[in-house]
């Protein structure tokens, strides 16, 4: 494992990219992923949209090698170092915030403090996780992921449990952090706006395959009030079977 991925200069660095070919995952009789192909370049931010049960989390868990109970086939290539942010912050309640951030790392106190400062939690190193607000807990979880300088960051609806205001701040923070550390990112989300605000590319999963793959050609920072933004949103919503007025399309 590379000790420090650092800033990426060569966009065509093959070993740091993600390549998924013909991925099949079955749970009993149900085929969740059905020959999925997906590529993520090093440093690229990809958002994954799809209905509940479309296989978003299954893909993420396959990439993180957490899907030991699933059958399937296909080729997965991931960078050697990856981190995951869960929907819940998943901080160990019996470890101080700093110890949570550097969990499993050796002599990483200073790195951990720097990571906490980066997510705006300086001075909270010695707090217990349950003394933090929901948003702060999720920041600590982000710090825990980024302090490992992953080449691939997997995020499973990381802001799903946060209130709307905290969510917007966290989205901005995530974008900043990713621009600084340049991991490849795969963000699973239900929120079309979140996908368009953050991602370089949005992939819509349907019936276990990538049904739509849209590069978002908008400069950062992006505003949902922007006309182009709304066109992307409408297109993605349509792919998800929702019209702009919120009603399903008659087929």
């Amino acid at each position: 494992m590379a000790a420090n991925a650092g800033r990426l200069t060569s966009p065509a660095d093959g070993s740091r990219s993600v390549r998924v070919t013909g991925l099949v995952r079955r749970f009993g009789p149900r085929t969740v992923l059905d020959g999925l192909d997906l590529e993520i370049e090093a440093g690229e931010f990809v958002a994954l949209l799809g209905h509940s049960g479309s296989g978003k989390s299954t893909l993420l868990r396959a990439l993180a090698e957490l899907d030991y109970d699933a059958e399937g086939s296909g080729v997965l290539r991931t960078p050697p170092s990856l981190s995951m942010v869960f929907q819940d912050s998943r901080l160990l309640p019996w470890l101080h915030v700093l110890d949570n951030v550097v969990l499993g790392m050796r002599a990483a106190g200073d790195l951990g403090r720097a990571a906490l400062a980066e997510v705006g939690l300086e001075g909270r190193e010695r707090a217990w996780p349950n003394q933090l607000s929901g948003g702060e807990q999720q920041r600590a979880a982000l710090a825990r992921s980024l302090v490992r300088e992953p080449q691939l960051l997997l995020a499973d609806e990381p802001f799903g449990a946060l209130d709307a205001l905290t969510r917007i701040r966290m989205q901005r923070l995530l974008r900043e952090l990713c621009e600084r550390h340049r991991p490849a990112v795969l963000l699973v989300t239900h929120d079309v706006d979140e996908a368009v605000v953050l991602a370089d590319r949005v992939v819509v999963l349907q019936h276990g395959r990538a049904a739509l793959d849209v590069p978002i050609g908008l400069p950062q920072p992006r505003s949902p009030r922007d006309g182009d933004f709304q066109r992307y949103r409408d297109r993605l919503l349509a792919a998800l079977g929702v019209t702009a007025d919120g009603f399903p399309r008659p087929n």
């Binding site: 957490l66 981190s83 998943r90 160990l92 969990l103 499993g104 702060e136």
Partner: protein, 282 residues
């Protein structure tokens, strides 16, 4: 930063807000801890006892007055009997407790972390659990005689059960999401045990330990009635034969006091070790 959260409850009309006292207590929690509150109950009992003895409502041939118990204790201490008997008893209780806690924890770890261990140990422990430890005394006497070994082993067997059951339950109920996290951040087996398993199982272990501490004194009392030649139980047994009520009461007070003190010590350690928990007990 946006860390501080407003704790004001619901919209209130301005007048109602003024009428409220400044400091509100949590409505559904038991409220603030009373300083030295745990001494209140025993103190009240002692007061009633003194009152009853002073007004001769309590027959001194059945229950001696508190002051004569204190006087007897003084005599026993002056003669050096109480200290030596207490040391013998404390040694038995602590050794039994120590062996019981170590084996109970060890077995729980073997059963809780390993499928083979689970299959072998837990079934046997469930059988052992349904045999009252004190029912094993006849067997222990035949195997180990009536000496110290029998007493310590019996206490250990008594302590082992609650320690095992609570530790095992705590180990097997560790949240699988934390296991997943440990895998994602790449903890090795040792780090996983140190960072996740041990602290996660600690609350249950402490529950078992507290039951075990009380249990060790309980078992001690029983084994000290069997052919003992020293110890607090022996002292009480002798006193029974000579009708010395106040000596029996001294023995009871010593048992009670040391049960209370050891339990308090364990609770204190528990509060320190589990500082991360915010529970109703606060």
């Amino acid at each position: 930063m946006f860390g501080t959260q407003s704790r004001t409850a619901g919209p209130l009309p301005a007048a109602a807000r003024w009428a409220r006292p400044r400091r509100r207590r949590r409505r559904l929690a038991p409220g603030k801890r009373i300083p030295y509150g745990r001494l209140l109950g025993p103190a009240a009992l002692l007061g009633l006892w003194s009152l009853g003895s002073a007004t001769h409502l309590i027959d001194p041939s059945l229950v001696s007055a508190p002051w004569s118990v204190v006087a007897t204790a003084g005599t026993l201490i002056a003669r050096g009997e109480l200290q030596s008997d207490f040391l013998v008893s404390a040694r038995r209780a602590l050794l039994g407790l120590g062996f019981g806690v170590v084996t109970g924890t060890g077995l729980a770890v073997v059963a809780g972390l390993n499928r083979v261990g689970d299959a072998v140990v837990d079934g046997a422990m469930q059988v052992k659990r349904s045999i009252p430890a004190l029912a094993l005394i006849p067997l222990m006497i035949l195997w180990l005689g009536i000496g110290e070994t029998m007493k310590i082993v019996t206490i250990a067997l008594f302590v082992l059960v609650p320690v095992y059951i609570n530790t095992y339950a705590a180990l097997t109920s560790i949240d699988s999401r934390y296991v997943e996290l440990a895998e994602v951040v790449g903890l090795n087996r040792w780090q996983f045990i140190r960072r996740v398993v041990v602290p996660g199982a600690l609350p249950g272990w402490f529950t078992g330990l507290r039951l075990g501490v009380t249990g060790s004194w309980l078992a001690l009392i029983v084994v000290e009635q069997i052919n003992a030649e020293s110890g607090i139980g022996y002292m009480m047994f002798q006193a029974q034969q000579y009708g010395q009520i106040s000596v029996i009461l001294v023995g009871l007070a010593v048992y009670g006091l040391f049960g209370f003190v050891t339990d308090s010590v364990v609770r204190l350690i528990e509060r320190r070790a589990l500082a991360w928990r915010r529970t109703l007990a606060g």
